[in-house]
């Protein structure tokens, strides 16, 4: 059986479509074909680390030139590779067409000169990327530190093409040798970007240090060969508890894991939200965006929303009213931001219908067409099915005081959207202790910047190898051999 589309292997500038085998997509609805990676796996890694020297002949200016040209070529209306990737994601991804198209339109500015510089300088430091940075220690030695690229395997998440683009951006600025395992729910975006790179910079060292292909996650024929310290030094793995746990079996001395764990996010809204109708409407609009963007498929989306409304009758009335407003704003979002989910989670909606029947404890706004819903708890606890919240369903939890909102945060928490700013200041030294990694203004949870730490680590710094050159002048740094000689006499 031939598949709906083909995922070629991009091998350091060459595009390979031989030895095709079939795979199912994540939604299970369609199949695609890709070269049998078992046959090509030996060609994926760099033969010899010395082959990375060419990356150091490239100036950072040239890197900026190449990335800018890449960005300019990533124009959805004219780029056939992107259009092909879009067609593939229509069958492979759970998101609707408008949103997927939009996810390609945001790629170009990512590679702009100013943005690449901002990321490189703030997340590593240009001087470390481009040379040896001198520093004198207290004992008198002269240090020179440089950030080298590594041989890195990436396992990006498939919810939106941005992840693949960011992966390539990070790889190029760190002068890394990069292998990307394409995700089954976004199988072609990384390859489309790679092919565009080959178009704008054929035979360039940057192009020759990039390989992108698909194999089924967990395939031992590929992974046992490839995931070895003599082939790769680091694995950057995004999301998916099962896939992350799977990768850990290959981690050993010489092969490091940079884990961008599966995460959930939460929201905290202070009592200030209820000062007046206009403020409430504004808060509702912001919260609706945090819930609705890309249909709540992301880790940064709002899910459980703690509201310091109080739990007395007036407080509950406020929370319920806010729930209604958020629902109104949610369903009014334009389709490139949010739509009713294409594949709503039946089990979740079963729980929602039950909450609707249990009106002593819950108030359910919407959801009858599975278009999304707001479940307002009528006491200060979230619904027990909160880990299932997806497809534009959020749970408002009224609480009496901010002491209670630490419940919003746990080991798996990433972003906390907070309103107003003053509450964020109040909470920012406390919430990280419980697990929060990013505190942001309500309404911005899903507008994620690249030039900042991610998941409480600095992945780009971690992708580098930090190499030290020390120079010790025996007249300055006390030499051990002289001390030893003195002790003998």
């Amino acid at each position: 059986m031939s598949g709906a589309f083909t995922v070629p292997l991009f091998l350091r500038g060459r595009v390979i479509t031989d030895d095709l085998v079939s795979f199912g997509t994540r939604s299970g609805a369609a199949q695609f074909e890709a070269p049998d990676m078992g046959r090509f796996v030996e060609q994926l890694p760099l033969k010899n680390p010395a082959q990375m020297t060419d990356l150091y002949d490239v100036t950072f200016d040239e890197i900026l030139d190449v990335l800018e040209a890449l960005g300019d070529a990533l124009d959805f209306d004219t780029n056939a590779h992107l259009q092909e990737a879009y067609d593939a994601s229509l069958v492979a991804n759970v998101l609707p067409a408008e949103m997927l198209k939009n996810s390609y339109q945001v790629l170009r500015p990512l590679f702009s000169r100013a943005h690449v510089l901002e990321v490189a300088d703030s997340q590593v430091g240009l001087e470390y990327l481009n040379g040896w940075v001198p520093h004198r220690l207290l004992d008198g030695r002269e240090l020179r530190v440089r950030a080298f690229g590594s041989r890195v395997l990436h396992i990006p998440a498939g919810n939106g093409g941005l992840v693949s683009a960011v992966t390539i951006l990070r790889s190029v600025i760190t002068r890394s040798d990069t292998i990307i395992k394409a995700p089954s729910n976004d199988p072609l975006t990384a390859i489309a970007i790679a092919r565009t790179l080959a178009d704008v910079a054929p035979n360039h060292p940057i192009t020759k240090h990039l390989a992108v292909g698909y194999w089924k996650g967990g395939d031992p024929a590929v992974e046992e060969v490839l995931y070895q310290p003599h082939h790769i030094e680091k694995i950057v793995a995004w999301g998916g508890l099962a896939s992350l746990k799977h990768v850990t079996r290959y981690i050993q001395p010489g092969l490091e894991l940079i884990a961008l764990d599966p995460k959930r996010s939460a929201t905290i809204i202070g009592a200030e939200a209820f000062v007046g109708e206009d403020t409430m409407r504004e808060v509702a609009r912001r919260a609706a965006v945090d819930i609705g963007v890309a249909n709540q498929e992301g880790c940064a989306n709002a899910r459980v929303i703690y509201v310091v409304s109080g739990t007395d009758a007036a407080g509950l009335a406020d929370a319920n009213r806010l729930g209604e407003m958020i629902y109104e704003e949610l369903v009014a979002l334009p389709p490139f931001i949010s739509t009713p989910p294409l594949y709503p989670d039946r089990d979740l909606f079963e729980n929602i219908e039950t909450s609707r029947m249990t009106d002593d404890f819950y108030r359910v706004v919407g959801g009858e067409q599975r278009e999304g819903a707001i479940v307002v708890s009528q006491f200060d606890e979230p619904v027990d099915y909160s880990p299932m919240l997806s497809g534009r369903v959020a749970n408002i939890v009224p609480v009496d005081s901010i002491e209670r909102v630490t419940s919003a945060v746990n080991t798996y928490t990433q972003t906390i959207g907070i309103y107003p700013e003053s509450l964020k200041h109040e909470l920012r030294d406390l919430l990280p202790l419980f697990g929060a990694q990013r505190l942001t203004s309500l309404g911005y949870a899903c507008s994620v910047a690249i030039a900042m730490p991610q998941d409480a680590i600095e992945p780009i710094r971690r992708m580098c190898k930090w190499i030290v050159d020390e120079e010790c002048d025996p007249d300055v740094v006390i030499p051990l051999w002289r001390t030893a000689g003195a002790a003998r006499t």
């Binding site: 039946r346 029947m357 249990t358 002593d360 006491f379 027990d384 909160s386 697990g435």
Partner: protein
């Protein structure tokens, strides 16, 4: 008596006392012509709905919202069906905060009985609460563990439990095609129960029912694997642990002080288990050798026991006319292809019976010689679209989500949607001779089919789950 009165009477007896309606005969239960049975079922469903509309608040609210005032055709009941979530829709915090008054109020809305006068003053645990309900109401509540870490609480009643055991005996000891003998109706057996002796969990409640129903209360004829009971509160802790682990909040899990105080007792119980297993084995293979027994457990537990027995060179243990019942699906356990042969060789019985059911309904459906689970006459089966829950046609061969309307259920609403994928061949007349509709042999949970990790604590896992909770208590400073 007019014909109409006679019909009315027969519907009432059919729905309230099917055992005597069918003359205690398993054969008659599965010999009613399809159309005649369906007519009875439709009328009984309509009547039961009116009764439950008046007495069960949660059903009434749903029906009002959907503007459903009567049930005429089978499919009319589908929008009113509850999912398993209905029986765990209480906030778990109520249990942590010992608000058993509010738990009672919640349960009151799910049952046809009036619970408004139940006294829960001073209740400190789930088990205590359930004991109060046992004492003060017609209920015999059972609990079962669910996927989100909240215990389901099913308001079953004592009357249904008694009826259920009589029905089990009817199904276990009779042979289709033969009217029951006195011995069939009152068998004399020892009961082998490879599980904890008691508890409020669905299948453990059955232990007491079986004891009452099969041994006439003679303790010496009841042979459990573990003498102790499974504490519901420990199961609640295990559920909470799983939920907390899923949320990444295990570091903040608090153990109820009353439960924590009993830590040593639980640990001692856990430590005794290997000896108890040995003693159990000796008991069934020596003391009960050659006896007629009733034994029931899941496939995998039965297989483990049989396998261990064969390895010790023990086989053909029981009288050939013993009643052996198994089932429970193959949840998460890979068994070898010949597992039934292994079980049969060890037990040495003529037949091993297999049943299908789920705890939200009370009726068990026994498999025929062809391996089909024939639906008992007071249960109306449905095959639904797995995603939309719309009913699929009641003709031809249909595969989808199983749902039932159980007319016999009086204590709670009988319309429930399962998590299982089933196939029904509506037009089939089964070669076994039973006239009833049947679920085909292969039944699988949708969650397993999706390959999703199902953290539902099945009855098969009780032992492991209890140990998990105790191990957790060992690891925390109390």
């Amino acid at each position: 008596m007019s014909a109409t009165q006679a019909r009315a009477l027969s519907v009432t007896q059919f729905m309230d006392d099917p055992i005597h309606f069918f003359g205690q005969s398993y054969t008659r239960m599965h010999s009613v012509p399809r159309e005649e049975l369906e007519e009875l079922q439709r009328r009984a469903m309509g009547i039961r709905f009116q009764q439950h509309y008046d007495s069960i608040e949660m059903l009434r609210k749903l029906a009002d919202r959907l503007e459903i005032t009567e049930l005429i055709e089978f499919n009319d009941v589908v929008p009113l069906m509850f999912s398993h979530t209905a029986f765990k829709s209480y906030p778990p915090a109520l249990i942590d905060k010992k608000r058993f008054d509010l738990m009672t109020k919640w349960l009151d809305k799910l049952t046809s009985y009036d619970l408004s006068n139940v006294d829960t003053d001073g209740c400190k645990s789930i088990d205590e609460w359930i004991d109060r309900l046992d004492e003060q109401t017609p209920l015999e509540v059972i609990t079962s563990s669910g996927t989100t870490g909240t215990l389901s609480i099913l308001p079953k009643d004592k009357r249904g439990a008694e009826q259920g055991m009589v029905l089990w005996k009817i199904c276990l000891f009779q042979t289709f095609g033969h009217e029951p003998t006195e011995q069939d109706l009152n068998p004399n057996v020892d009961v082998i129960w490879p599980n904890f002796a008691s508890g409020k969990l669905g299948h453990l409640r059955i232990a007491n029912m079986i004891k009452r129903g099969f041994t006439g209360g003679d303790e010496s004829k009841f042979h459990p694997l573990y003498k102790g009971s499974v504490e519901t509160d420990l199961m609640f802790l295990a559920s909470k642990m799983r939920a907390a682990a899923a949320r990444g909040e295990l570091d903040r899990l608090e153990i109820d002080p009353a439960l924590a105080a009993r830590k040593d007792e639980f640990i001692a119980m856990q430590a005794r288990q290997p000896q108890e297993l040995d003693a159990f084995f000796t008991e069934i293979t020596e003391q009960l050798r050659g006896k007629r027994v009733f034994m029931t457990s899941t496939f995998h537990l039965m297989y483990d026991i049989a396998n261990a027995g064969l390895q010790r060179g023990v086989k053909g243990v029981f009288a050939t006319d013993s009643a052996i019942l198994t089932g429970g699906g193959m949840k998460g356990v890979a068994l070898p292809a010949d597992f039934m042969d292994v079980i049969t060789e060890f037990l040495g019985v003529d037949r091993i019976q297999v049943g299908y059911g789920f705890s939200e309904s009370s009726t068990f459906h026994w498999a025929c010689e062809e391996g089909r689970y024939h639906v008992m006459p007071w249960v109306i089966p449905f095959v639904l679209d797995p995603d939309t829950s719309e009913p699929l046609p009641r003709t031809g061969r249909q595969t989808g989500r199983a749902a039932v309307y159980d007319i016999l259920l009086r204590a709670h609403w009988g319309g429930v949607i399962s998590g299982d994928e089933v196939t029904v061949d509506w037009d089939l007349r089964c070669p076994c001779g039973r006239s009833s509709v049947a679920f085909e042999k292969d039944i699988i949970r949708y969650s397993e089919k999706k390959g999703v990790e199902d953290d539902r604590i099945t009855c098969a896992a009780t032992h492991e789950v209890q140990n998990e909770a105790i191990d957790f208590m060992k690891g925390v400073e109390l």
